[in-house]
């Protein structure tokens, strides 16, 4: 038997193709007769459209068609993107139309679609579409958008409040009445995006002979694309197939369904040609959803020993102009705040503001980095005011592992009461501090200060709901060749599902992962699916692979027992063959697979159903909760404001690990995104909500020199609520990063009493704070 695959640190099966240029991303498809599309988008954040003239564009060489609202089939002219996750707290659930011809509400909103023989000609013609706009004032900053005299995001609304709700538990007034110390502060986290290096892309082809529409999309969620295409366009579900081929990064924004994913199939069918649209980077800045803008006005109450008594406050969340995913992000924020601490009383009122910007939907971390920022800053403030070490105040409040499972008193976004299923938060903090050499830090700091260098250390903890339901299924099939194939619905945008799902199945058949294929993200290969987001694939699809592979193994044993005339309990599976233990008698999985294909007129061996395969749709009872501790050591130059991350340490508990190598990569990449959120990434808008940082020259992504190596220590607290004990691992690195980095910068600049209440912080902001403090 081969080495155990589950849990092994093995290299990825995906890599050789991707390293040699043999990947197939959506823009790599070249279909015969294919046309290319370009969009005409609003150049204004808010405007009334008086008229659209497409005559010159239509006359441009190479142009095949130009679509405005008036050119769409009548039933689609006022059709909006389906509202994905309704909630009674939402009062104004504005959704985007396929194209707009009355009022555009963000810069980048599509108005017309040009289809031509080449992208070059399509773009030329797009510039010839003449639109008569009346420019309207835009609602920009989300807090000011809720003021009485603010410009309206949607001209016919009477206010910009999209939703309002309060979450909490316990007696907050009592907590504050009995507090030894309270602290109130406002925090601000600004907007950024996912910025996968591959932009969005859609290719659609209608096959008239088969009456079949195939859509290739750079999406995380092919089944959501299919569902929305079917719902919006009214096509039969079995006539639509959506495939997520290789996807060049996702990070949340590619989870969401976009109007382009309906329009491209629609025009492909209408024109009788395959049509391709590939978003360019400018469009990506304008029209791909973003996240993070929130203000938190928060107050903490503690006793004399630093024990938490209560937290209360108000949060304002920027939703952008539309709410395709309702209040998912701000709701996750609100329920993430208590984190790993025993917090006896909590109350947060959230107001969601409509602004004239592209919609806000989850980006890696999904509302959590903001909440962790607010909570961890409050912990730092309480510690500082009480004269307790920032590490010590956390230690005193962490939920002890004996109290697991721990019911928080809140309802999570899955509608289930929030119960932390497992975890050892104190151990996680201890381990992070150990690898960070926290013991030696104050001596390092003193030595550095003697050399006029300013180093500081920051810490942040978090808990994250992962493995969101309702399900992600898997079919495991042994093919007549003996090769094992796994089919699952979520797309792969770099997570390495081929490798990790193969690791889940391999041990059941005593084979190596190279004997297993994984076909993912294709609605033609499995009946149902959801998608790759919310750190959910290992939990949902992984568990389904486990259940399906177990069933296939049992079936193989049953059929083999019949074929070998042996008792099932005397059989084992070794190297892809069913063997009779202690005897020189065996049958290969290939022969068993062929035997259960059936022969006309003959019974199937052992009376089983045909096919050596099984499908399962694992549905978790609730989310499972990953957690971690980040400890960051920085050096700050008070003259230039430059922050150098000297050491980034992270203890990470995502339950049982399928492949530590892959999880390390997930944590490292997620941390880099958190570093961007803390120090670099800042989507800037003017007072009318027109974007002013719409290129990588103005919006800075972390590059190699300023991104730290991350020392990761894995704590494995198995989740009791799925058969593998796994939890999600894709987002944890991002979540505590801004909080921990700001804490470290403050510590480094403590001689100047620098206080940081927002993210990102740029060098010039740091210099200003140092000057104000000296």
């Amino acid at each position: 038997m081969g080495a155990k695959m589950f849990g092994a640190r093995v290299a990825r099966l995906e890599d050789p193709r991707l390293l040699t240029g043999r990947g197939s991303y959506t823009d790599d498809f070249h279909l015969p007769g294919m046309l290319e599309a370009a969009f005409v988008r609003s150049p204004h954040s808010h405007a009334k459209i008086n008229g659209i003239d497409t005559a010159a564009a239509k006359a441009h060489p190479g142009v095949v068609a130009v679509y405005t609202v008036a050119d769409l089939p009548e039933y689609l002219r006022d059709m909006t993107v389906p509202f994905q996750v309704p909630n009674p707290a939402i009062s104004q659930p504005f959704q985007q139309r396929l194209l707009e011809d009355r009022e555009v509400c963000f810069a980048g909103e599509p108005i017309a679609l040009v289809v031509a023989d080449s992208r070059y000609n399509a773009e030329d013609a797009a510039t010839l579409v003449e639109i008569d706009f009346d420019i309207l004032p835009g609602a920009s900053d989300c807090k000011s958008a809720l003021d009485d005299n603010a410009p309206m995001c949607h001209a016919n609304s009477s206010n910009n409040e999209g939703a309002k709700y309060t979450v909490g538990y316990g007696d907050v007034s009592d907590a504050f009445a009995n507090a030894h110390l309270t602290h109130r502060e406002e925090y601000w986290i600004h907007r950024g995006g996912g910025f996968a290096i591959e932009n969005r892309a859609v290719v659609a082809e209608y096959n008239e002979l088969q009456d079949m529409l195939t859509i290739w999309s750079a999406t995380q969620s092919p089944f959501l694309v299919k569902q929305n295409v079917v719902d919006m366009l009214g096509w039969e579900s079995d006539k639509v197939r959506v495939i997520a081929p290789d996807v060049g990064g996702g990070f949340g924004p590619k989870t969401i369904y976009y109007v382009e994913e309906a329009l491209i199939p629609l025009v492909a069918k209408e024109l009788g040609h395959p049509v391709k649209w590939v978003e360019d980077r400018r469009e990506n800045f304008l029209a791909t959803n973003m996240e993070r803008d929130q203000y938190w006005d928060m107050e903490i109450a503690v006793d004399a020993g630093g024990k938490l008594l209560g937290v209360r406050g108000k949060m304002t969340h920027d939703s952008g102009a539309y709410m395709p995913w309702g209040i998912i992000s701000p709701y996750i924020s609100a329920t993430t705040l208590p984190g790993p601490y025993i917090l006896p009383a909590y109350e947060l009122e959230t107001r969601v503001a409509l602004t004239n910007k592209v919609a806000v939907t989850p980006v890696r971390g999904a509302g959590r980095p903001q909440a962790v920022f607010a909570m961890e800053r409050l912990m730092d403030r309480a510690a500082d005011k009480l004269g307790i070490d920032r590490v010590e105040i956390r230690r005193r409040n962490l939920i002890p592992t004996e109290q697991m499972p721990y019911a928080l008193g809140l309802i999570f976004r899955d509608g289930k009461p929030m119960t932390y299923d497992s975890g050892d938060y104190p151990k996680c903090q201890v381990e992070a501090l150990r690898i960070a050499d926290y013991e030696g830090f104050r001596a390092r700091q003193e030595t550095a200060r003697a050399e006029d260098r300013h180093i500081g250390l920051g810490i942040a903890n978090y808990v994250e709901g992962t493995g969101l339901g309702p399900f992600e299924g898997a079919t495991v099939r042994i093919q007549p060749s003996g090769r094992i194939c796994i089919y699952t619905g979520g797309g792969d945008s770099g997570q390495g599902h081929w490798t990790t799902l193969a690791q889940v199945a391999a041990d059941k058949f005593g084979v190596g992962i190279e004997d297993i294929d994984v076909q993912k993200g294709d609605t033609g290969k499995i009946a149902s699916g959801v998608g790759t987001f919310a750190s959910r694939i290992a939990v949902n699809a992984g568990s389904s692979v486990h259940l399906a592979a177990t069933e296939v193994r049992e079936k193989a044993l049953k059929v083999a027992a019949y074929m070998l005339e042996a008792a099932e309990e005397d059989l084992d599976i070794v190297d892809g063959r069913v063997v009779v233990k202690g005897a020189d008698l065996s049958v290969g999985l290939a022969e068993i697979a062929r035997a259960v294909q059936g022969m006309p007129g003959f019974s199937l061996p052992g009376g089983v159903e045909p096919g050596l395969e099984a499908t399962h749709y694992f549905s978790p009872s609730q989310s499972c909760y990953c957690n971690g501790t980040a400890v960051v050591e920085v050096e700050v130059d008070p003259e230039t404001g430059w922050v150098d991350i000297l050491k980034y340490s992270m203890a990470h508990d995502s339950g049982t690990l399928i492949n530590p190598f892959v999880v390390d990569g997930q944590v490292q990449g997620a941390v880099a995104q958190g570093v961007g959120n803390a120090l670099l990434e800042w989507m800037i808008y003017d007072d009318n909500a027109n974007p002013v940082s719409a290129s990588f020259a103005e919006y800075l992504l972390p590059s190699a020199p300023e991104t730290p190596n991350v020392d990761v220590v894995h704590i494995e607290s198995p989740s009791p609520i799925n058969p593998l004990g796994v939890k999600g691992a894709g987002e944890g690195g991002t979540i505590p990063a801004p909080a921990a980095i700001m804490s470290a910068i403050e510590d480094a600049l403590s001689p100047w009493n620098v206080v940081i209440s927002g993210a990102p912080i740029t060098p010039s902001m740091i210099v200003e704070k140092v000057r104000a403090g000296s």
Binding site: G21, H30, A196, E198, G249, G494, G665, Q668, V671, A704
Partner: protein
């Protein structure tokens, strides 16, 4: 707009002659005319580095060049790095062994950039590797696996040289 020229370029050792629009970018020429789709386009303004190719052995951003500017020149793309269809180049192998890629989209530009860099600097420090790839954005890995792969590849390539000498 429709000014066209005939150009000849050698890509990965193979000669191509095509009539192209003068405004066609080199990246689009490689991807959509020659159909070598391993070279990727991530930003079209020269920042992300995904489209990096080797032009006469030196790195160039194929999104910022016109195809006609490559007339008569020699190009290497990611498809030309491996010695054959079944083996990986030591740099590619180091990427797999050090988890130097996740989604794979920035990878071709990382590889071409590092081929040039390791040729110029066969024994680099970590800092030098980080500077060398500072014009290539990766959103998945946090660069840690990429840097480890480059340092590992430097060792492997040196070992190969010594073995061959």
């Amino acid at each position: 707009m429709s000014d066209r020229r005939t150009i000849s370029v050698t890509i990965n050792g193979e000669a191509y002659e095509r009539e192209v629009e003068t405004r066609l970018t080199l990246a689009d020429f490689i991807r959509h005319e020659v159909l070598l789709t391993g070279t990727h386009v991530g930003c079209e303004h020269g920042v992300c580095g995904a489209c990096t190719i080797l032009l006469n052995g030196r790195t160039a951003r194929s999104c910022l060049m016109l195809a006609v500017q490559a007339n008569g020149q020699e190009i290497m793309t990611v498809e030309g790095i491996a010695p054959n269809d079944t083996e990986l180049h030591p740099l590619q192998q180091a990427f797999q062994d050090n988890h130097g890629l996740q989604c794979g989209f920035c990878t071709p530009g990382m590889l071409t950039t590092l081929i040039e860099f390791l040729g110029d600097n066969p024994d680099p420090t970590e800092r030098e590797v980080r500077e060398a790839i500072s014009g290539n954005l990766c959103r998945c890995t946090g660069y840690q696996g990429i840097v480890a792969a480059a340092l590992d590849a430097a060792k492997r390539l040196k070992g190969k040289e010594t073995a061959g000498a």
